[in-house]
């Protein structure tokens, strides 16, 4: 059962992958099937049911593209 939810502003994402690296439950990934208008593969929540709403991804994101909600 998910305890949190993350939103990405995918147009501003540069696909650096730091959020994927620091997620303690590995629920994030880079979307290799999509390319945003900057030309990067944006990050997305691959397994939303795993999210615990810890906000580590948001803290690590250099481009402030992440919003985190906790239930």
């Amino acid at each position: 059962m998910a305890k949190g939810r993350v939103f990405f502003d995918q147009e501003l994402c540069k696909g650096c992958g730091l959020c994927v690296l620091v997620c303690p439950v590995q629920c994030l990934a880079l979307n290799r099937k999509e390319i945003n208008s900057k030309g990067y593969n944006p990050a997305y929540c691959k397994e939303p049911e795993k999210c615990i709403g810890c906000a580590n991804c948001g803290v690590m994101c250099p481009d402030s593209v992440i919003t985190v909600e906790r239930f």
Binding site: G4, R5, L12, K14, G15, C16, G17, L18, L21, V22, Y40, G53, A55, N56, G58, V59, M60, C61, P62, D63, S64, V65, I66, T67, V68, E69, R70, F71
Partner: protein, 249 residues
């Protein structure tokens, strides 16, 4: 549902020009969050440097001023002396502060100007294409030291935080890193203390932030965080060198 994390009001909506994975963006956000939390955004004046963060004036949601290379502390001194009611900070890289601007920062600290300096140390010149900086590590390969930095030829990397901590006028000196969520949270506390030092009128405050440069280090962003932890932190130890609240001497 309560939002536990979102973009700070301390930053504008302009997308940054930094490379993917560059931790400048994190440090920008920390400064923005601290200014927002201290409720001083409307009376803060920042001074942007020359280097990768030269366009910082577009990103911070407060009044900003641009300075010539290395001269941000001198410009900030002028602003603070004319407008002492404002919160004045400089945001400088290592090519700016530790190289061409060393005289300015040392004397600003000596005079204990009431400004706050955010010093971003990524051990390389980023904007100009990865040349060796005064802070580049021994053996580090850069475009101007292709065989690695040779201390016999160019000396050892300069430790700015330790150097400034020897100056009585430097009231708050701390070194932090932004290579993990835990360290980022500590970095935010340090930046907050540095601005609080200024608000309390206790003189010059500087926070040295160890940062990454994936592009010019030639590694991907996750590896750059490891490189920082394995190579930079041993030479540039993290910690507080001076704090007016604690008087750690």
């Amino acid at each position: 549902m309560p939002i536990v994390f979102q973009k700070t009001k301390g930053l504008t909506d302009v997308p940054t020009h930094y490379c993917p994975g560059c931790t400048h963006g994190i440090i920008h956000r920390l400064v923005g969050e601290v200014l927002e939390e201290l409720e001083v955004l409307d009376r803060t004046i920042g001074v942007a440097p020359v280097g990768c963060s030269v366009l910082a004036y577009k990103y911070f949601n407060c009044d900003m001023h641009e300075a010539s290379h290395g001269r941000a502390p001198a410009v900030a001194t002028g602003i603070k002396r004319v407008r002492p009611e404002n919160i004045v900070f400089t945001y400088q890289g290592d090519g700016d502060l530790a190289s061409i601007g060393t005289a300015e920062i040392v004397h600003a600290a000596h005079r204990s100007e009431g400004i706050t300096t955010i010093f971003v140390n990524n051990a390389i010149y980023g904007m100009t294409g990865g040349q060796m900086a005064p802070t580049s590590l021994v053996g580090q390969r850069t475009t101007t030291s292709p065989y690695g930095r040779d201390p016999k030829l160019v000396g050892y990397p300069i430790r700015i935080a330790e150097m400034l901590a020897t100056i009585p006028g430097a009231s708050y000196v701390e070194r932090v890193a932004v290579n993990s969520p835990a360290n980022i949270r500590k970095a935010k506390q340090a930046i907050k203390r540095a601005f609080q030092t200024q608000i309390d009128g206790k003189g010059f405050a500087i926070v040295e932030v160890l940062s990454t440069c994936p592009t010019n280090w030639g590694i991907d962003p996750p590896k750059a965080l490891d490189w920082l932890a394995e190579n930079m932190i041993p030479y540039y130890p993290l910690g507080k060198f001076r704090d007016p609240q604690e008087e750690v001497e």
